[in-house]
Each structure stands twice: as C-alpha cells, then as structure tokens.
C-alpha cells in the first residue's frame, strides 16, 4: 500500500472534521428539501381520503400556484417585508447604532444592552408583547401614548398592518445588525483614519471614502444572512396578524402554513415551499456573487 503524503492526510483530516456537519445538513436540510419536492408532485393531504392514499399529480400544484392571485400577493408582501425590515430598517438602524457606539459614549454598556435585549426574547413572546402595544381601544399601549398628543385610539394592526410588522421585525433585528456591523467596523485599520485626518479629510469624506467601502463585504454578508432569515420568518407574523387583514401580511411562511395546516393540503403547501426555497436560493446566489466585490 502506498504511504499517504502529509497533504493527503491533512485533506482527510479536513473531510473528517466536516463530516458531522455534512451528515446533519444532509439529514435536516437536503433530505427534507428533496422530500418536499417529491411531496409537491402529489395531492397528499393531512385530512380526507388523500391522507390515506395520495397520488402523483405531476406539476398540477405548481400550475395552481402560478394562477393563484393569493400566492402572488404573498410573494409581493414577503418582498416588501424583507426589503422594509431587513434591508432598510434593521440595516440602517443597526449601522447607525454601530457607528454611534464606536464613539466614546457615556453609559455605552446600557445602550448596548437595550439594543441587544429584543434579540434575546423568543419570537412568539415578541409577537404577544407587540400585540399588547398595538392593541386597539383605549387600553392599547401605543394608543395610550398617542392619546397624550390628542390622537384618537387607532387600530394599528388593521390600519397599518404591513408597516406594523415591519417595525416589529426591525426592532427585533437591530441587535444582530449592530453586532455584525460593529465587528466589521472594528476590523478597519485605525491607521487609515489617522492618515486621512492628517490629509485633512472631513468626517463625511472619511465615511464615504473609507468606512463604507471597507465595510462592503460585511454589509453584503449581513444582507445575505438577514434576507434569507427574514424570508423564512413565521412565528412573529403569525402571532401578530395571522396574515390578515385581508391577506395584507400573508408572507410566504404564513401562506405555506395556511395551505399545509389550515387547509391541510400538504402537496400544495410543499409546492409553495419549493418555490419559496428557489426564490431564497436565487437571492442567496445574488448576494454570494456580490460578496466577491472588490474593495
């Protein structure tokens, strides 16, 4: 037997170390995804005769899906939700917090804790907490606050449903954005700032010419993670609005749940999940390509 080289042994070691992660990913990500795809080609259901004996229906579920205005509405709502909360809300506020907390601010630890706290609360608890905030009638927390300014009690989740869930998700996600972007800011060499100041650069010039370009890989990494995770959100919106009123907050996660566990149509629900996975993957690929951006 030919003796193994050092390089071969090292490669083998790497593969060995990756094996547990790969096995878990195969069992809990790849297999379920493949199973979901096979399910999407059937009329399987949790109730009724199809639950006992499902049959192959080819692409019928996908045909139904693409002609279903509620699916397209759900996709549109999801995109607005992702752009509004992850791409704009969480990123802008997280970046501002990260920049501010880089400065010598008094009581920095307290501000840090306040910003990080929402991320420590479970998704469902956040939902119930904000239900009480947005509750209609004179006893809703937000209604009590606006009453000080003479504003009549509002039905926030009815009047501004999508905006409300965007605000809640932004509030919850600022901490993650701030932590990731702070690590990005810390990795920028201090010499660059010093050199720029010696050359007479203003704060604005430093931000646009040094901070932002140096932060691009971190920003894209953040965008990638937050877009994909926000795309998959379910519990928060389910608790707050269950997709209503009038489907105005029915993001894809809710739509899949409603089809699979309210109408109990597993085959159709799986078809929507497959399409949702494809959309997420396309967005992921876009970001991965963008991550190769030259700084």
């Amino acid at each position: 037997m030919k003796p193994k080289t050092f390089e071969a042994r090292r490669q083998f070691g790497y593969r060995l170390m990756m094996t547990p992660a790969l096995v878990l990913m195969a069992a809990f990500i790849v297999f379920p995804a493949l199973y979901a795809f096979s399910l999407s080609l059937t009329d399987d259901a949790l109730l009724g005769f199809a639950a006992q004996e499902s049959s192959f229906v080819g692409l019928r579920n996908f045909e139904r899906l693409f002609t279903d205005p509620l699916f397209w509405n759900s996709l549109k709502v999801t995109l607005i939700f992702v752009i509004g909360s992850a791409v704009i809300g969480q990123f802008v506020l997280g970046f501002l917090s990260a920049l501010t907390l880089q400065q010598p601010v008094k009581y920095k630890a307290i501000f840090n804790a306040i910003i990080c706290l929402p991320n420590a609360v479970p998704e469902m608890v956040v939902g119930f907490l904000w239900i009480s905030m947005f509750a209609s009638g004179e006893y809703g927390t937000l209604n009590r606050l606006v009453a000080w300014f003479g504003v009549e009690p509002q039905q926030w989740l009815y009047t501004f449903p999508l905006l409300s869930i965007i605000i809640v998700n932004t509030w919850r996600g600022i901490a993650f954005a701030m932590i990731l972007l702070t690590s990005g800011l810390s990795s920028i060499p201090k010499d660059l700032y010093e050199a720029a100041r010696v050359d007479g650069a203003t704060d604005r010039q430093i931000f646009w010419r040094i901070t932002l370009p140096m932060m691009m890989p971190t920003i894209f990494l953040y965008m990638f993670i937050s877009t994909v995770t926000t795309f998959a959100i379910f519990g928060l919106v389910y608790t707050l609005s269950r997709g209503g009123p009038a489907n105005s907050t029915e993001i894809l996660g809710i739509y899949i749940y409603n089809q699979s566990f309210t109408a109990f149509q597993l085959g159709y629900g799986a078809a929507v999940a497959v399409v949702s996975l494809v959309v997420s993957m396309l967005l992921g690929i876009l970001y991965v390509r963008a991550l190769k951006v030259e700084v």
Binding site: A45, L46, L47, G48, F49, A51, Q52, R64, T67, D68, P69, L70, W72, N73, K76, I131, S136, G137, Q155, L157, Y158, L240, S241, R242, G243, G244, P245, A246, N247, S248, N258, F261, T262, A263, F264, Q265, Y268
Partner: protein, 472 residues
C-alpha cells in the same frame, strides 16, 4: 485555562440544576396513581375549563375502567388544538382517546383513517337511544354513514340581544319572523340608538368560526337548503349561498355590523367582550356559553343581571319558516384507529358520553348534554338557564358536512372577508367560495345541481385588481 474550564462548566451546571428542579417538581401536580400494574390510557384535553372538568372526573373514570389515565395537555385555541392533533394522528403518535372540536371535522378525520369505527359500540350502548336524531346524525360520517364519535355535549346557538337597552329605547323585543324583520329591527336600532345593531362572525381571522358561528346560520335559514347534495357534494352553487353572502353585504353596506374589529387578529374580543357589554352592539350570534364566559359575573366585562339583561331570539328564517336554534355536536369523543388498547379506549370513549361526564363538562363550558335523558339526572338543575337550551334540542337545526369541511370553511372565511372589505357583493363572494373550494378540493367536490358556474378568469382579474387597489 482555569477561567475557560469554569466557563465551560457553567452551562453544564445549569443543565444539571434545571434537570434536578424538573425531576423534583414532577408528580407534584399529578393525582396519586392507584395501581402501577393497571394499563395506561392516554387522553388528550385542552383549555383550562375542559382540563379542570377532566381532572375532576379522572378518579371516577379510572375506577370504573380499572385503568390509569394519562392526561396530555394540548394547545388551547381550537384551531391550534386540531392542527396538533391531526399532525400527531398522521405521525402515528396521537393519544388513545381525544375529542373533536366540531362535528363537521369528523368526516375528514374518518376519511383519513385516523378514527376507529364505533358504529357497533354505539348501537349496543343505551345512551345512544336517548340522543335526538339530529345528534346521532351528526356523529356519523356522511360518506359511509358509520359512527366515529361518541357525542357528549352540544352547543345550542341563537341570537343574543340586549333586552334591557332595547326595552329602554322602546324597540320591540319580539322574536323576529324572518330576515326582513331582523333587518328592519336592526335599522331601527341604528336610527334610535346610533349603535351597531348586529354581529354575524365573518372574515379570515375568525377562522372556522366564520362558518360555524356565522355563515352556517344564514344557510340554515333556508328551510329547503342542505349543505350536501344527494350525491354527497357541497351544494355551493345554490342561490341560497349567494343570498346568504348578500345578507352580509347588506349589513356591511348599511353599516349595521361593525367591520373594523373583525379584521383584527382576535376579532371576537372587541365586539363580543367590549362592545356588547357596553351597549355599542345590541344583537349577536352566540351560544349557551356566552352568558357564562362572555358576559357572566366571572368574565372580564360582566353585564349586570345578565340573565335578564341579555335574552335570546331563535334565528329567524330567510323564507318565513319557523325560527330555529342551531345545534352542533362539540368535542365528541373519538378513538385513535391505531390505539394499542382499542377495547379499553372504546370503553373510555363511551364512558365520556355518560350523563355524569357530560353534565360536569356542560356546567363548566356552558354547553348542554347531548342526551335527552340528562334532564332526569339529579344534577341537571345545576345548569340553570341552560336547561331551556337543552329543551330546544329536539327541534334544533343543523347542516351536515362531508370530506373537505376545513377547506370549505377556509373558503367561507375568505369570501366573507372579501365582503367585509367591500371587494365583492353576494354573487362575487359565492364565486370566490366556489373558486377556492374547487381549487383546493377539485371541481367534482362542488355539486353541479344549480345554475352558478365558476368564471375563473373574471375572478382572477377582479381579485388581482382589488389587491392592486389595496396596495395603492
């Protein structure tokens, strides 16, 4: 290094401490086990009032059957309870005995093969003979006429109105004869009191209640209408369906019904628990439980002297026939088809239909026993005003359903929501319902007995246009 080891040991210590606390706390709340050699039956239950009733009955049930009962607590909201139950039945790890929230879910579960056939057990059981025919019919699956559940309690639903406020305002409190009479009374209330007169549940967030507590009543108002055709399909093309949606449309367009609260995540909270007690809503559909839970002395917003202040009308018909009360078999007991102790599980299910059990549940839940002979039980008088609801059972009305009831109810919720937000009228809502049900269950599930045909392209256009307008 020491610091690192300490940090690593900290979570381990926390897990051990939590495990110890958990193990010492276990068993404190559980009743003493009579005999560990007895077979164990697992029974599912949910909601505090139902769990209290079952725990109270547990020693008696254990003694009579010679088993240990293990009660598994499920999520409280009926829809969440049902979803969890269905997923466990599918996974093969569901309890031996469980209850089914509404009679119209029985067909779907039976067709899926989850329920044990109890036909012979029920026919040999004396309790079955003392049930009114309507209740017996609702315990059978419509597709094969076999019985799969043991009815225990029944919900009797009517219109509840503020007798005190209507009398004060000089508005008649006589039983409305038909829909026109009810509408005329509602307009009079709006004119004289300036409040919303009538609530009939509707919309997406009310879930299956939009059908069971709202639309079902309107359909049952047509004396000749049945939800199922003779070949066991949904009779959704019937003109009665469009007329029922039109009733909603009238209520919405004339602002006789509060719409905004129905679009909230918990749509029943504002109209039933706040507006009705405050007199901002005068008539609502409800059941015998409402005087206890919604407006009784222990509720959040109690109505003073509720038995006198709130009275009932039977539902007026659409076509001048006799007014009626609606009955539903709620939380009937079923046996898991894959139970490992099928005989004991069947015996337990039958025991849950006993009058002792039914009365214990009925009293806590505000429902009435399913058996007519419960009226002779010494504890029957403890039901108070609900005894009058029990007396309505033999003449009550109900609509049978078949496989696909969940999809049909989801369709009703969507269609009524479209009426609420002014997107469609009665005919449009019927189209939406037909489209949804045929989309989900297939065209052949919808009976072809009447003239309404589905216009898919026009509907897609209308819905797309409406969604665009909403977005703008």
């Amino acid at each position: 290094m020491r610091q690192t080891i300490k940090l690593l040991l900290l979570p381990v210590a926390a897990v051990v401490a939590i495990g110890w606390c958990h193990s010492t706390s276990q068993g404190r709340g559980e009743p003493p086990v009579a005999d560990s050699t007895q077979p164990v039956l697992v029974i599912a239950e949910h909601r505090a009032a139902r769990l209290d009733a079952l725990r109270e009955l547990q020693p008696m049930l254990q003694q009579r059957l010679g088993v240990q009962l293990r009660i598994v607590e499920y999520p409280a909201p009926p829809q969440d309870y049902f979803t969890k139950l269905v997923t466990e039945l599918r996974a093969g790890n569901a309890p031996d005995v469980f209850s089914i929230p509404r009679d119209l879910q029985v067909d779907d579960l039976a067709a899926a093969g989850y329920l044990a056939d109890l036909t012979q057990d029920l026919q040999a059981w004396p309790g079955y003979a003392s049930m009114p025919e309507l209740v017996r019919q609702l315990s059978r699956a419509s597709f094969n006429e076999k019985s799969y559940v043991v009815p225990s309690i029944v919900a009797v639903e009517q219109l509840y109105y503020r007798h005190d406020l209507l009398t004060q305002a000089g508005i008649s409190t006589e039983q409305p004869k038909d829909w026109q009479d009810l509408l005329a009374r509602s307009r009079q209330i709006k004119q004289k009191l300036g409040q919303f007169p009538l609530l009939i549940p509707a919309g997406l967030t009310w879930g299956m209640g939009s059908y069971t507590e709202g639309f079902r009543y309107l359909l049952a108002s047509f004396s000749g209408y049945q939800l199922l055709t003779s070949d066991n399909r949904y009779a959704l093309r019937d003109p009665a369906v469009a007329k029922a949606f039109d009733f909603y449309h009238t209520l919405v367009s004339e602002q006789l019904m509060p719409v905004a609260p129905l679009l909230n995540p918990e749509p029943w909270v504002i109209p039933k628990y706040e507006m009705f007690p405050k007199g901002q809503l005068l008539i609502t559909t409800c059941g015998s439980w409402c005087k206890t839970f919604d407006w009784g002395p222990g509720s959040r917003n109690p109505i003073a002297n509720v038995d006198d202040a709130v009275r009932t009308w039977r539902f007026p018909s659409a076509d001048g026939a006799e007014p009626f009360a609606l009955a539903s078999v709620v939380y009937a007991w079923a046996v898991n088809a894959n139970s490992r102790k099928p005989e004991l599980a069947r015996a337990l299910a039958l025991l849950m239909g006993d009058n002792d059990v039914a009365l214990a549940y009925a009293k806590r839940l505000g429902n009435v026993p399913a058996r007519l002979d419960a009226a002779q039980h010494p504890k029957f008088a403890e039901l108070g005003a609900m005894t009058a609801d029990h007396a309505l059972l033999p003449q009550a009305r109900a609509l049978r359903s078949t496989v696909g009831a969940n999809a049909m109810m989801a369709g009703v919720a969507r269609a009524t929501e479209a009426v609420l937000i002014g997107k469609v009228d009665g005919a449009g809502a019927q189209q939406l319902l037909l489209q949804y049900v045929s989309h989900v269950l297939g065209e052949d599930t919808v009976g072809k007995n009447r003239e309404v045909e589905i216009n898919h392209s026009a509907l897609a256009q209308a819905e797309g246009k409406a969604l665009q307008q909403e977005a703008q």
